[in-house]
């Protein structure tokens, strides 16, 4: 499947995702379905799906301890080891994992190959390339902040940290955009960053020929889905405003397990909500599970201590190997000839009697 087909397919899928609630609520008025039933189903799928997936991973044992060592091992006292990139115990592993999960440390190592041929001689350079790391980091953290900001719709009263986050997120923008205040609410920095980062992550899949080659619909689809999630969110905030009090009533109802569907919430909200539902439903069945998988990745979450702490493989089984006895039986004469000691054979009479 080439990238055009992949993109068309993924875009169509996202279009369908947008149209379903548009028609469902806008034309057919199925508010309970889209405001209550589908969100519950999606949330359940999300939670159960992740648990099932992680348990399924956990069901398979870790037969060998195979960390990728990225620094000097623990050795003599006079050799400086690298306890984070080559951990010798749990402490190091925890730090390594924290760096990995919070700062995408491995991705930060990224370089870009620059290959050229000068007078028939290859020249290879490894250039600075942190854009992927930067985009990934901005995307994930912006998503997190936006998710946390949404707590103002889930909780009454609005928790202090949410207000703080909102003011930080908005404050930074105030300084940057002197044209604020044309009857529009303040622009959140994270909204912009998220959209920019996701756009870059999508563009690089199309522009970089290697990434274009290996991308699948499963790579375009979630990016497009998140883009449309962000777009509907931004639209709702700045152009197609919806009644926040009623939205909050609906959302809190869901979380309190006493759902209510207030009238007068614009269709755009249902589209936004449905995209989110599709995203979280899709989540456990997709590559998005990397968020949980990283914690179980055996090349990162294990210590490089095999030589001093025994690792047991639960399904280890005995194997038949060619023993010394069999070896000597085959080569005994030749061994004796060159004076190699043998266990059997050149026995003295005395030894023969003992047996």
């Amino acid at each position: 499947m080439n990238f055009v087909l992949s993109l068309v397919f993924s875009s169509l899928a996202v279009l369908v995702v947008v149209l379903i609630p548009w028609i469902g609520v806008g034309a057919l008025n199925l508010k309970i379905l889209f405001g209550v039933v589908i969100p519950y189903a999606a949330l359940a799928t999300f939670i159960v799906g992740i648990i099932v997936r992680v348990l399924d991973w956990g069901r398979s044992p870790v037969p060998y301890r195979i960390p990728t060592t990225a620094g000097q091992m623990w050795s003599f006292p006079w050799i400086k080891s690298n306890p984070i990139d080559n951990p010798k115990g749990t402490g190091g592993v925890v730090v390594r994992m924290l760096f990995e999960v919070l700062t995408f440390r491995s991705l930060f190592r990224n370089t870009r190959l620059e290959y050229s041929k000068v007078d028939g001689v290859p020249r290879i350079n490894y250039e600075w390339e942190k854009w992927l790391w930067l985009a990934a980091l901005l995307f994930h953290y912006s998503f997190l902040v936006i998710f946390l900001r949404h707590f103002r719709f889930f909780m009454e009263p609005v928790p202090g940290f949410v207000t703080l986050l909102e003011s930080l997120d908005g404050f930074l923008q105030m300084g940057a955009a002197p044209f604020n205040g044309f009857g529009l609410p303040g622009v959140y920095l994270t909204d912009m960053l998220l959209m920019a980062a996701v756009t870059w992550l999508l563009l690089r899949r199309i522009l970089y020929s290697q990434i274009r080659y290996l991308s699948l619909p499963a790579d375009y689809f979630p990016l497009l889905l998140i883009l449309s999630l962000g777009t509907t969110g931004i639209l709702m905030r700045y152009l197609l405003r919806v009644d926040i009090t009623k939205v909050k009533e609906l959302v809190i109802g869901i979380f309190k397990f006493s759902p209510v569907v207030p009238d007068g919430i614009g269709v755009i909200f249902y589209i936004h909500l449905f995209i989110l539902c599709v995203l979280i439903t899709y989540f456990p069945f997709s590559k998005l599970m990397h968020f949980a998988g990283i914690f179980l990745s055996p090349t990162r979450n294990l210590s490089n201590n095999n030589r001093f702490v025994r690792h047991v493989n639960p399904w280890n089984y005995p194997v038949k190997f060619h023993t010394y006895e069999e070896y000597e039986d085959e080569f005994r004469d030749a061994m004796i000839e060159v004076g190699l000691p043998v266990d059997k054979g050149a026995k003295t009479a005395e030894e023969g009697e003992k047996e």
Binding site: M1, V4, L5, W57, R59, S60, P61, V62, P63, T68, T69, A70, M73, F76, I79, K80, S81, D85, E100, S106, L107, R109, N110, T111, G120, P122, I124, Y126, L132, Y208, S209, I211, Y213, L214, D219, S286, M289, H290, G293, I294, L296, S297, P298, R300, R307, F308, V309, R310, V312, W315, V319, K320, H322, Y324, Y327, F331, A334, V338, L340, P341
Partner: protein, 543 residues
Amino acid sequence: MADTPKATEVATIDHYRPLFEQGWMNKKAEIKPGIYCYGAKPKNTNAVGMPFPKDWNPTEDDWHLPENWKSIFKEGLKDRLDKFRSLKIFMDICVRCGACADKCHFFIGSGDPKNMPVMRAELLRSIYRKEHTIGGKLLGKFGGGRELTEDALKEMWYYFYQCTECRRCSLFCPYGIDTAEVTILGRELTNLIGLNIDWIAGPVANCNRTGNHLGIQPHAYVGMIDFFVDEIEDVTGVRVEPDFNRKGAEILFVTPSGDVFADPGTYTAMGYLMLFHYLKDMGLDITWSTYASEGGNFGFFTSHEMAKRLNAKMYHEAKRLGVKYIIGGECGHMWRVLNQYMDTWNGPADFLEAPVSPITGTVFENAKTTKMIHLVEFTADLIKHNKLKLDPSRNDNLKVTFHDSCNTARGMGFLEEPRYVLKSVCNNFYEMPPETIREQTFCCGSGSGLNAGEDMELRMRGGLPRANAVKYVHEKHGVNMLACICAIDRAVFPELMDYWVPGMDVTGLHEMVANALVLDGEKKRTTNLRGEPLPGMEEEEDV
């Protein structure tokens, strides 16, 4: 055997893809001479009881697959998913970010997009998705799933035997996805249906029977070492006296058989012999084994089970001889196996004792359960304690750089010890660029059983990034010697250097140690172990 194209031809590499092309799933692999290795001969697969032995040729259409090969493959995959969390995770969580793409030496050297590590894994992942995921089952290609066809199998085979399991990609992967693990298990699957390569199957069969990959029988092994003893005497005037299979020795020494077989590894073997001789009076009590005469493990390139079978000999022999612990020689994948697998497979070796250097009294805490230490750590400790009389100026004709083996770097983290030893025995040491050494080191291009003759083009392509870094220090600092701690490196670098960086020599670490080592009662040394004049001795007549 295919002619290897000239370096200037090979250097024309296009890493870019056209804007519009068919998706990769629609193209079948073209199996090219110079890239693939010959199929395993039945005598070798038979010798160790591998399934479906047969004569087969990868370039022919008919691979003589067993009738039920699909179900064997699928069952094998399922079985491994249940046994290896690594495989399950690595099949599920790749986001195809492409960070690994240009990190692979085979991709850099070939531009073949299916040599991007992510693609190598995707070949299997697509089958996995078709069989085991909802998306793949429901949506087929749109869900990233691919039918297991003969073409798909051939393609997987082709690319699993174009991976040296060096793990460089796993270093850059944000989730630590390790293509080596995928290749190792992928090769197990191909082996289940009789698709081995002979360059691996042959050494495996040899190692099983004679104790080493090269099929050296005990008397011949002794003969080879005796030859080194004479050579050493010629150079130093000192006669070293190694012994073999001696019960009651304190230490068993196991090294890759490549060291006793071909230059320049042989000089490294001489280095071991001289070092052991030097230490004999200081209390070193060490013996060689003709039965456990292989440090490397080509079984590891076949299946976990085969690797375990071959590895079992080390502890078996250590137990029979009644030694206290084992020292291992200079080898790359050998040390990944010893570090990350040996104890799990064949331990606990509770009949051995935690290694203690008989000369310095240093306890090797980091090897207290496997009871096996690296000769280079042993030597580093000796040098640190001033136990070796060294004259590094004997290596003054050399400007040396050091190649970290993939496996000791990324499967162990053995980075400083070899450098410490090297800097103690030579005065001119230059590092290659940082993104090509230590944990980011580049493979020699011939590891994991791909050091055959028929895939020479692949090897030269795969070795290009390493060679290019060597060339850099060669031109900048006049480096003329590439030091390494791996027998496969020593076997394959000479050809690689001749191809890309003429004028470079290759050495093992202990050859350099031995040249610098001042033996008691030695004659005036005029040449190094290779018979080349030592610096300042160019005019001396060899009497």
